[in-house]
Subunit: 256 residues, 2 copies
């Protein structure tokens, strides 16, 4: 897959969320995240462009007996690649964002993950790097934001702590979900959605809609947010492709 | 008060639990605990015999903008002194203990704290040092144990993480309790209870009950646990003193 730089064979995502660390900086924090995951029963870890490369000796030292989580980590070149096969993506955010998508507490988000997992969906949680957190493009990949409630005057949590709290909510959220009941009503994977959105963007650009150029990223973000929020099925995305195909058709068939 | 080695004036305990770190070792972890407290709206910190003395430069460096919590910390020489003025004491424990007292999750414990605080009680949470945790005597001081649910195969959390999770549960546990409605039904302070128990122990020793000597600590612990669990009022403790006084009286008044 384009953008994927995996050093491991693909991991089967089980009935639990995958943790995705986006541009993490210090190996110690990656190790602390792995420990926190193992404390609370999560073992699927993905890393997007870790600053100091991978593997990382400091991460291993910090992880101590959670090194199995690190050993299973899958490396990606960018965030879209890391979420491509997922159906439900959650983005942790330190601050409220002006995005038209739900922003849940970790507890409510975990309940929503259970709902998706029960439907056979694969879900993942994005955590930003130490310094800048997730950027708007990362957050746009998600259908749902997660904001950890904290003292507004002192809300900063480090990466390991954020993973710890969300993983703790996962672990304490009750019984594991029932086996999947998949079907065509399954929402689309992020990869399929991304393919659709890219096609839409290309067509909109070609048709002069996304102007001026400096506004293009935010205009596209707003559009993507709409599709993220809709929890589209594969059939619906195929229909939308049909809509685009129809709209861009030059040889109009007035009899149809 | 005997055993108190306070470097600060007594702090008025507000409508929130006090965090009590018992024999903490690394200053960094004391600082991390202070940060976690401030993240989640707690500011009353007590320290029992910190290994490296107090104040501690490493704690201050780690606490960064949570140094106000450290500045307000009160130092004690031992655990009984640190809980003497409290009505409700909770002891965090990494493992299940064979003690006849309730063991709650952090979430359930926080609900119980709200109940006590609504009644005007002062509550505190004991956290053990990095290496050994709380010893049995510390746990015996508490009416209630708190066990953080975690993967049984990988349950170790550091001091800062344990404080973080309990403080997070406090912060997310809903509205602050209503103002206190104190009365004589208020449960006894730990100091009053301790005075009673010491008197009981002295009398039992004098009467040859606590034998053999090597079994005395565990026998007394079991007795203390009973009184801890009972949530005695001041009136009830006075009655129990009366019971002891009556029982040890030599000049029996058969007409009474």
């Amino acid at each position: 897959m384009a953008g994927t730089d995996s050093t491991k064979p693909a991991v089967v995502v089980g009935l639990a969320p995958t943790v995705i660390l986006v541009r993490p900086q210090m190996g110690e924090n990656i190790g602390a995240a792995a420990r926190a995951m193992k404390n609370f029963g999560l073992d699927q870890l993905r890393l997007v462009a870790p600053r100091d490369g991978w593997p990382n000796a400091r991460a291993s030292a910090m992880a101590s007996r959670a090194d199995d989580v690190l050993d299973g980590a899958v490396l990606y070149g960018d965030s879209p690649a890391a979420v491509a096969d997922l159906h439900g993506v959650y983005a942790t955010t330190a601050r409220a964002r002006e995005m038209e998508k739900p922003c849940l507490t970790p507890r409510a988000a975990v309940a929503d993950m259970h709902r998706r997992l029960r439907q056979g969906q694969k879900v993942g949680i994005l955590f930003g790097g130490e310094k800048a957190g997730l950027d708007n493009d990362d957050a746009t990949l998600a259908q749902t934001l997660i904001q950890i409630p904290a003292n507004p005057a002192f809300s900063s949590l480090n990466l390991g702590q954020a993973v710890l709290l969300v993983a703790y909510e996962w672990y304490t959220s009750g019984p594991l979900p029932a086996p999947a009941e998949a079907g065509d009503s399954l929402s689309v994977t992020l990869d399929e959605l991304h393919f659709f959105e890219n096609r839409l963007e290309a067509e909109l650009t070609r048709h002069g809609f996304l102007k001026p150029p400096e506004k293009r990223p935010s205009m596209m973000r707003n559009l993507r947010n709409i599709f993220r929020r809709a929890e589209l099925t594969g059939q619906e995305v195929r229909s939308l492709h049909g809509v685009i195909s129809a709209l861009i058709r030059k040889d109009l068939d007035v009899d149809d």
